[in-house]
């Protein structure tokens, strides 16, 4: 192949190519992850690279819409290139799911295509892996997914990561009286941790300054599970009965995490309200020193997957593996042995077979 024009030396934005040592590292990390999820009883799924855009438009958050590549096929249908595997998987599973398959445990590992600015050199959103636990309601399902993520990260020998837990349903309950536009503005202020903006929006709705101050302190809380327990003891009198129910779900989850002696890696963070429209209750993001944004995110979603028209509650996470790979050391790989080239090919092949049986890599 001849060399491309100078302006085509790069590849289109949002994709990448991997070669040799870097590709080997990627595969080894992926293999470690896959071995772990297999041991938890999860089976692989493959999703199409393209699907019809209309199936997903209502579930795509504005930012994801901006990042997604869309194109028109020869019949004039608008297509979406795979930018979030959870969505593509949900549709494929909804088409084929049968009652007797529930709960279903599946995982995926594939490339995604998201537009990125040319200077976003470290964004690394090219490859998404993840696990979905479909049709398992309640705390046990939430814990299974959280601990599966934790054990994958531990297995990869990743240090100092933190998983921040929040609740979309708590947010929905507290702000249930706001209209769609106000809720959107509150979400934006919370996602940006902009206290002034949140205060201004709430002031349009409520006159009680104490309530506004409480709401801001409440949703900006980040702390350990212990700190959250103490915080809630003081704050709970301000909450409605329904909001308290949502808090109790988080407290019960915290109790289980503490009983399993895993509290060090978890934080309660009520500003986590989910980075996608489809999340409905538990939401979480995982942060790692050195990574410019969350390396994993997930939560429970109730309306995305259905079985014969009936919504199935599910929980899952996605992990941006390439973000992690950049931070992990490259394993030392022994150089392959080179057989004496003066020997005949058949002699070299015989000798190589013996050495390969001993676990050595050999070049003929």
């Amino acid at each position: 192949m001849s060399l491309p024009n100078q302006d085509q030396l790069h590849i289109p934005r949002g994709t990448e190519s991997l070669h040799l040592e870097e590709a080997l590292k990627h595969r080894n990390i992926l293999r470690t992850m896959e071995n772990q999820v297999h041991s938890w009883g999860y089976l692989p799924s493959k999703t199409p690279v393209l699907d019809y855009y209309d199936n997903y438009s209502e579930y795509l958050a504005p930012k994801r819409k901006e990042e997604s590549y869309r194109l028109i096929d020869r019949d004039g249908e608008l297509l979406l290139l795979r930018s979030d595997i959870t969505l593509f998987l949900a549709r494929q599973i909804s088409i084929n799911l049968k009652d007797d398959q529930l709960p279903l445990r599946t995982y995926y590992a594939d490339t995604i295509l998201r537009y990125q600015k040319k200077e976003d050199i470290s964004h690394n959103e090219f490859f998404q892996t993840g696990c979905e636990l479909i049709g398992k309601e309640g705390k046990d399902g939430d814990l299974e997914i959280l601990f599966l993520l934790k054990e994958i990260l531990d297995q990869l020998n990743i240090q100092d990561y933190r998983i921040h837990l929040g609740s979309k349903s708590l947010f929905t309950e507290v702000f249930k009286d706001l209209d769609k536009s106000q809720k959107k503005d509150i979400m934006a202020a919370l996602i940006n941790r902009d206290q002034d903006a949140m205060s201004e929006i709430l002031a349009l709705k409520a006159k009680d300054k104490k309530w506004i101050s409480f709401i801001i302190n409440f949703f900006f809380f980040i702390g350990t599970l212990e700190e959250f327990n103490n915080f809630i003891k003081v704050q709970s009198s301000h909450l409605t009965e329904e909001s308290q129910k949502e808090i109790n779900k988080l407290i019960q989850l915290c109790d289980q995490i503490k009983a399993l002696d895993a509290q060090d890696v978890f934080r309660i963070d009520l500003s986590e309200i989910g980075n996608q429209n489809y999340y409905s209750s538990l939401v979480f993001q995982c942060y790692l020193p050195g990574a410019d944004s969350a390396i994993a995110s997930g939560g429970r979603y109730d309306g995305l997957i259905s079985c014969k028209g009936k919504p199935i509650s599910s929980v899952g996470f996605s992990l941006l593996l390439r973000k992690i790979e950049a931070l992990l050391p490259t394993e030392e790989r022994p150089e392959p042995l080179i057989i004496n080239e003066s020997n005949s090919f058949s002699q070299r092949l015989k000798e190589a077979r013996i050495l390969r049986k001993e676990g050595k890599a050999v070049i003929l």
């Binding site: 200077e119 976003d120 050199i121 470290s122 100092d160 933190r162 921040h164 996602i191 940006n192 941790r193 902009d194 002034d196 903006a197 980040i222 934080r267 963070d269 993001q285 942060y287 790692l288 020193p289 050195g290 990574a291 410019d292 944004s293 969350a294």
Partner: protein, 208 residues
């Protein structure tokens, strides 16, 4: 990057705003100085590491997490089109982004397709598009007040403090588009991993 003893990293903008930031920190007990030609400094307590960067590059450093925190104006944040946590507004350095034109020029009606010279193309586009007004935007990197005088465009959008530069060039403010505040912003992941120490810093800076 996690809540251990590495100093918190803060990108500061070169230029006039830097002196105000340095003074604000100093008044609250955080003292630091950049040695001649050096662009990295650490405060006396070794708690904060400061990077001196070009104003418009500041969001890039924070976006990539090279500096976890940064101090800059809303205009720089908006034009970078990146998302940060907005942690604190400062009471200094605030200004306005305003539309200006020749004193004798009429204010354009909604139906006019006007040409505007500006360095703030994203803010201008979003402002006028949100009002349903089409505009032709001409990007300039500086001295935008020249554009109407030389016939490049009838209007300009620029940061306005006293208005004296506008007046000297025969221009006047027709409309204020945005109030620009100076803020402390944070890389989101950096904040989540260092929230205790960042909260402490915010309390110091607020004088709480």
């Amino acid at each position: 990057m996690i809540d251990k003893q590495e100093p918190l990293s803060i990108a500061l903008p070169k230029g006039r705003l830097f002196e105000q930031v340095q003074e604000h920190f100093s008044e609250r007990g955080i003292k630091f100085n950049f040695e001649k030609r050096k662009l990295i400094a650490v405060d006396q307590s070794n708690s904060y590491k400061f990077y001196l960067v070009k104003n418009s590059d500041l969001p890039i450093y924070v976006h990539h997490g090279i500096a976890g925190l940064g101090i800059c104006g809303d205009d720089v944040i908006y034009e970078s089109e990146r998302e940060f946590f907005r942690l604190l507004d400062f009471d200094f350095g605030g200004t306005r982004l305003s539309l200006a034109g020749p004193t004798d020029a009429p204010w354009p009606s909604d139906s006019d397709n006007i040409a505007i010279a500006t360095s703030y193309t994203t803010m201008v586009r979003d402002h006028f598009h949100s009002k349903g007004m089409p505009v032709d935007i001409i990007k300039l990197k500086g001295s935008v007040e020249l554009a109407p005088a030389l016939g490049l465009s009838q209007y300009i959008v620029d940061l306005v403090e006293t208005g004296s530069t506008l007046k000297a060039n025969g221009l006047e403010v027709k409309e204020d588009l945005f109030n620009v505040k100076v803020r402390m912003v944070s890389n989101k992941a950096y904040y989540k991993l260092n929230y205790h120490r960042i909260s402490k810093l915010l309390n110091i800076l607020k004088g709480a």
